[in-house]
Amino acid sequence: MTIEIQKDSDPIFVKMIGVLDTGAAEQIETEIQEIESLAQKTISIDCSKLEYICSSGLRHFLRIRKAAGEYGHVVTLTGVSNNILEVLKITHFDSIFDIQ
């Protein structure tokens, strides 16, 4: 699992690549904290290379969403695959993100 962050752009582009399972979720703590700290700008997460997301991964999405929410921003998710979209729908996360 790798995360690419374009800090200098506005909105900030975050690209999630690989499988976001429980093991990966425990390892990306630092990156998530960094993204949280950038939440004064709008954030766009590219999920086109995200193959799988577990509930711990959803928790990270939620953290980013909450950090952005404090600045009144909405987090955009792009390139969401069907299986990820399914998970987002089941958990109703599709209601708190702007899915494009």
Partner: protein
Amino acid sequence: MSRPKIAGIRTYISLSLLVILIGGIVFTTGFGICLYLSRTQITELTNKGISRDLDVIHNYVDGQLQSIEDVAYALSGAEDRNYATFDPASFDSEESMFVFLENILNVNANICGIAIGLEPSLSVPQQGPYGFAAYVTNVSGKSERLRLGGINDYRKKEWYCKAATRNKPYWSLPFRETNMGKVVTCFSLPLHDRTGNFIGVLALDINTEAFRLKCNEIMPFKNAEVTLVDRNHRFISHPDTTFLLRNVSDYHPEQWNKAAAHDLAQQKKFFRVESKENKSLFYFDTIQRTQWIISIECPIDEVYSGVYRMRRDTTLIAIASILFMIVCFIYLFRRLQRITLSKANLDKEVKIASEIQMDMTPKHKASAPEFEQFDVCGFLQPARDIGGDLYDFFLYDGCLYFCIGDVSGKGIPASLFMSATHYLFRSTLEGCEDLAQAVASINRSLCTNNERNMFVTFFCGKLDLATGKLDYCNAGHNAPILISHEPGKASFIQTTHRLPLGIMSDVTFQTETMNLQNGDALFLYTDGITESMNLERQEFGDEQTLQCVTAHASESTQDIVKKLYKDIQQHAAGAEQSDDITMLCFRYNSSDNS
């Protein structure tokens, strides 16, 4: 609480000892080689140095002896060194002979005495019946005459008779000179007349004190002994003058026997003898002219003092290192012991927590009268020792309340959040009229102080056992499967999705209602089922879950759960279980039918 067994401690001790042992062997071997090389190097250097010292003494002593011989030959006018001629008639009186000898003594500082002895038969002025010999010695810078002859027959003395009988030049054994007490040695040269007849002996004395002083100058080591011995193995030169003319074999018989045998037999110029008894190295050299032996004795302790010092220092360092290593190992051992102990304690506590978690799940007893109207089976298999999934059910006032949930994440953090949810379910749903409000209340409680943004997907329901009316509320959880009483019919129920609990406190939930027929069953599960993966990372999936449940639809709830778990394991085919797996299945048997 019993003390947990500490695995690996014995291995650690064995490994530590092995490391110390191997380290010790490697160090000792390396050090041994280093010591051996140093010793060899020092031996080589010592051999060279001592060889030079021996040469210095050899050249000096031999040069002095040579100069005496040269003077003798010059006086005798000998062309052939073995055949000196002399004409006593050239001296007209004894006086002239003494004057001649005194002159020679005065110009040759290294000569301490000079004598000419003649055969009695010769026609020499004032010759007595026993012959005549003139002897002049140097006493404190003044020459002193001595007329030999008469009863004190000089022809029996070594200096005369040895040269006379052999008719060859002769170096006498060193002796103590009577006037000054010096140790001198004498060179005797037989004299001949023009026809070749032996007529007498010319003798020159040389003081060996100069040799002793030269030997004392050479001091390769502080306690080295540089000595010079004659062919009868008596000291000519020794740092201690009381040793002079004493036999050396009284002190080092073995070394001297070896030296004599070796050197005189093989004519080898230089060799050394290592004596373990005396802990000394002996170096020898021979002066062929007089068959004297130069000896340098070096105490082994001094020769190899550098090596011994290095050995002592390194041994101390090695001992210190080993002690340090032992201290380190003991320190690490204690730390490891603490860590192992605390890990063992933690493992034990996790195990207890896991047992508590399992105890929290309701136990179904088929014989209990309150369970007559439904057949129920729950299953929870955490991916780790402790999980974040939950299921529960209880009967209250003719209704069956049930829930299933999945906390984000796994392990202890998830299990703590799961316990809170579990408690809130029990306390909030009991007797509640509106499920949605009860769930909203649970959600608000879970949102309070939820700094880590944990959440739980949650599905709960309330089945009126009398009517079969089922109220349910879904908070972000997978839709359960309704297994129809009609054979081979099963489908996901329609639910309105809402956010999981713990995310936002102001979320509203929706109560939905359906009616269960006699024999209908509801199968609830967590995503550990649908997202179970095999080694190729293929998910079990919603469709396959539905298919399998449909296939086992006619079985008892216990068998449905058991067989579906078997299906999951078959699908995983050895892949590690990545998420908690939870199932809850109950079948409604209406009271009309019972």
